[in-house]
């Protein structure tokens, strides 16, 4: 088991992302496992962005800080990232960008290397990649092939030619001593795709039958809207960019009422603006999926950064009380399957279902085996049998489960009346006391049914030592840290929460009860998962490892924060 970590860093607009994507795709196609994260600022030009691209011979689930190669597109990048570079590592840059930085690991390339047609800023990325590919022992053909595959169609022929020539010329100047054969090989046992967290969710939504998606642009949720818009004409998804987030969720509710599977997505600010409509979905019992791509708050916060601090907000958002469910993918496969399942949950229980991710997850690229579509089952929930003659549906019939069969308006003879006020079984506004209690109870008891369906947390490692409680983007680095720390003799386990709300208290209690100590580890300040478990299942946690600087955990971060809590090997 081995892997290498490459950092590509530069200003916005310098092509960090496209270099990273070519590298990632190439490594994928070579049969390596890949995990790549993106760190960028909220600006289009300038500033400092970087990607961490890790690859190896086994599935990778997290980013690490320590790096083996640094591709620095400017001087600042050299300065910032040299400290994390392995003593044996190489820092690759253009001579002009080395500036005053001096380090034996730097290999600076003169702009003059390669053809005249390949001079200047635009070629820096490809040249540094060529240095890298050569140093990794892949040879220039690999990169040329990748460039042709990825950019062949987009580039003018003469530009493509210049790129290819530059690749070859640069490869030729790499010192023999800098070329190190990889200490591990690929694993070509199965084909793998390279998907971001948001890609996984978008694909899962398509598998789950989303028909209408509404959103207003907001990082890090925008890429779901963009993917679904791109998929739309091919698979039949209608996407609308609304005038604001309020419209987005009301739109999705309208589409769901009409009979589509519908979703709305945004980041936290959008959740605020959607919150009134969450209650509308609650009282009208309209099945709808809501995606929250979390970022640091409050308010505008840090637009391109990450945090997991919306959990308790979404558990309680909107006035009054109504049932809802909250899911959070712990890895890219979850993103696919949970996104699909969210629609089933929504339609089986006629509730709003939240899918929460965060920037660290949304933008992280990971190689995954193709999602198993046969695992996705469709359950559209109870439908009322078609009546003989047009008549008003008892849309809110009081039933054992709390769910009342629905019908699609204008597609059947049922007349379907949904009401945002408290209403009787036919959807007529009433403030009758007894009716209120009946309807409120009918809705609220769904929570018991949903919780009963939900699994408890997945326990990995030792269940009976210190248990790290986590969810979402935090899970990957925690799991990898677990391996290291157990390797050092610590008795440690991880509890992964995917079904966050409602809490299945008995199952959670059972899963956590063997542990000696419960520590939450989350990208937030207050330890919201711990608060939730205390509130909903009376579980007392013994500490919280929080991170609120907007950057996702690295494996090293986790180890450094957890190990001191463990004392000697226990």
């Amino acid at each position: 088991m081995a892997d290498l970590n490459i950092i590509i860093a530069g200003a916005a607009g310098q092509g960090v992302q496209s270099a990273g994507e070519i590298l990632g795709k190439t490594l994928l196609r070579l049969g390596f496992y890949v995990y790549a994260t993106q760190d960028y600022q909220s600006r289009v030009r300038g500033g400092h962005n970087f990607m961490r691209i890790r690859f190896g011979d086994r599935p990778l689930i997290a980013q690490v800080r320590h790096s083996n190669y640094l591709l620095a597109l400017n001087e600042e990048s050299l300065r910032l990232h040299l400290p994390d570079l392995d003593p044996q590592g190489l820092a690759l840059c253009m001579t002009d960008d080395q500036g005053a930085v001096d380090d034996p690991r730097i290999r600076a390339l003169a702009d003059e290397v390669g053809p005249r047609s390949a001079r200047g800023e635009k070629f820096v990325g490809v040249k540094l990649l060529s240095l890298l590919f050569t140093a990794l022992g892949f040879g220039p053909a690999t990169l040329s092939g990748a460039v042709q595959a990825e950019m062949g169609k987009r580039l003018k022929p003469e530009l493509l030619q210049a790129n290819l020539e530059a690749i070859a010329a640069v490869a030729a100047v790499v010192a023999k001593g800098d070329v190190h054969p990889l200490p591990f090989g690929p694993d070509p046992s199965e084909p793998r795709m390279l998907v971001s967290g948001n890609d996984a969710i978008s694909l899962g939504m398509v598998a789950g039958g989303v028909g209408v998606y509404a959103s207003y642009p907001m990082t890090p949720a925008s890429s779901i809207m963009e993917s679904l818009a791109a998929f739309g004409p091919r698979v039949g998804v209608a996407v609308e960019q609304t005038e604001d987030e309020i419209a987005a969720l009301n739109l999705a509710i309208g589409a769901a009422y009409a009979g589509a599977r519908a979703a709305a997505g945004s980041s936290g600010a959008g959740m605020c603006l959607m919150s009134e409509a969450m209650g509308l979905a609650g009282i009208t019992e309209t099945p709808v999926v809501i995606i929250d791509g979390q970022r640091p708050g409050p308010a505008v916060g840090m637009a391109t950064r990450t945090e997991q601090s919306d959990l308790l907000f979404l558990v309680h958002a909107s006035q009054g009380e109504f049932p809802r469910a909250i899911l959070a993918p712990a890895d890219h496969a979850d993103g696919f399957y949970l996104a699909a399942e969210a629609f089933n949950l929504a339609e089986r229980w006629h509730i709003p279902v939240f899918l929460m991710d965060d920037q660290a997850y949304a933008d992280a690229l990971r190689s995954v085996p193709e999602f198993d579509v046969s695992r996705v089952k469709i359950d559209r929930g109870p439908l009322a049998p078609e009546p003989e003659t047009p008549q008003v549906l008892r849309r809110y019939e009081v039933t054992e489960s709390g769910v009342s069969p629905r019908a699609y308006p204008a597609l059947s003879k049922w007349i379907v009346c949904c009401d945002s006020h408290e209403h009787d079984e036919y959807g007529r506004l009433t403030d009758n006391l007894q009716n209120r209690d009946r309807q409120n109870h009918k809705r609220m008891k769904k929570l018991d049914g949903i919780a009963a369906e939900f699994p408890g947390p997945e326990i990995v490692g030792d269940p009976d030592g210190t248990l790290l409680l986590c969810w979402g983007s935090t899970v990957g680095p925690v799991l990898e840290a677990l391996e290291q720390l157990r390797g050092r003799g610590h008795r440690l386990g991880v509890a992964i929460f995917r079904h966050l709300f409602p809490v299945n208290a008995p199952k959670v209690q059972a899963a956590l009860s063997p542990a000696k100590r419960l520590i939450t580890i989350e990208m937030n300040y207050r330890g919201q998962l711990g608060q939730l478990l205390r509130m909903e299942a009376g579980i007392a946690t013994h500490g919280h490892i929080g991170k609120t600087d907007g950057r996702g955990f690295t494996v090293e971060d986790v180890v450094a924060r957890v190990e001191p809590l463990l004392g000697g090997a226990s």
């Binding site: 209608a238 009979g259 597609l411 379907v416």
Partner: protein, 285 residues
Amino acid sequence: MSCLDDFAQYPPEWCPGCGNFDLLDCLKQALCDLGLQPHEIINVIGIGQASKLGFSLKCNMFDGLHGRALPVVLGIKMANPAVKVIATSGDGCFYAEGGNHFIHNLRRNLDVAILASDNRVYGLTKGQASPTSASDFKTKVHIEGVGALPLNPAALALVSGATFVARTFTGAKAEATELIKKALLHRGAAVIDIMSPCVSFNKVNTFAWFRQRAKPIGPDHDVTDLHAALKLAFHDDEHIPTGVLYQTRRPVFGDHLTVMQGESIVQRTLRFTPDRVRPLFKDFY
């Protein structure tokens, strides 16, 4: 059973003399005249006295949030473009809380008949000023008068891109009925600003006040002329032109979208399978 009875639902709870009774009558008549049936159409309502009309009109109904009827309509039309949708609510709902959705859905030329019952006051919440209240209108909140310029619904609709803009008065039932029919037949965003007296809270813009001022637009008005329509929209308050101010044709929302052609999304959803995602995977290898 007569057609009007087919559309009858629970008895209205408005104050005796409220203009909304007339609006309800006109709407039922229009639906009958057009041969529509209760289970074929959807009435999306907001929150307010006017929107309570929804409980007295038997047909598919979605009662949304205050101000948010139109986004719900948009969702419905994306899912099922063929269904005829009406949006019914008051001046506060459409123009205050819902002002943003109003202008943007007109830009979209969303195919909907917007029936805005405009009593120039908040009826349901007992008498506060609405965006259409006159500058000197006094209320418990505006004890020194509203101050702001009243919002001009027709003008706002015109510049926002509505393709059918009309104005009428609940006291002119024949005209109102005809305009509702036209709005229902219009393909695109149709707005009718329906002046409707609130007998309890608006002692200025009474039935008599409207009656005296509402004057049908003459036959020489060119309904395709935006600037002529804007001139009619900016009436002086002694003479309020009623009738069709403007009508034009433009692609409606969805016309340019591949996914909204052919079978509706609701219908496709009835028999989709998760397999539809498979062709997308190849982009990620």
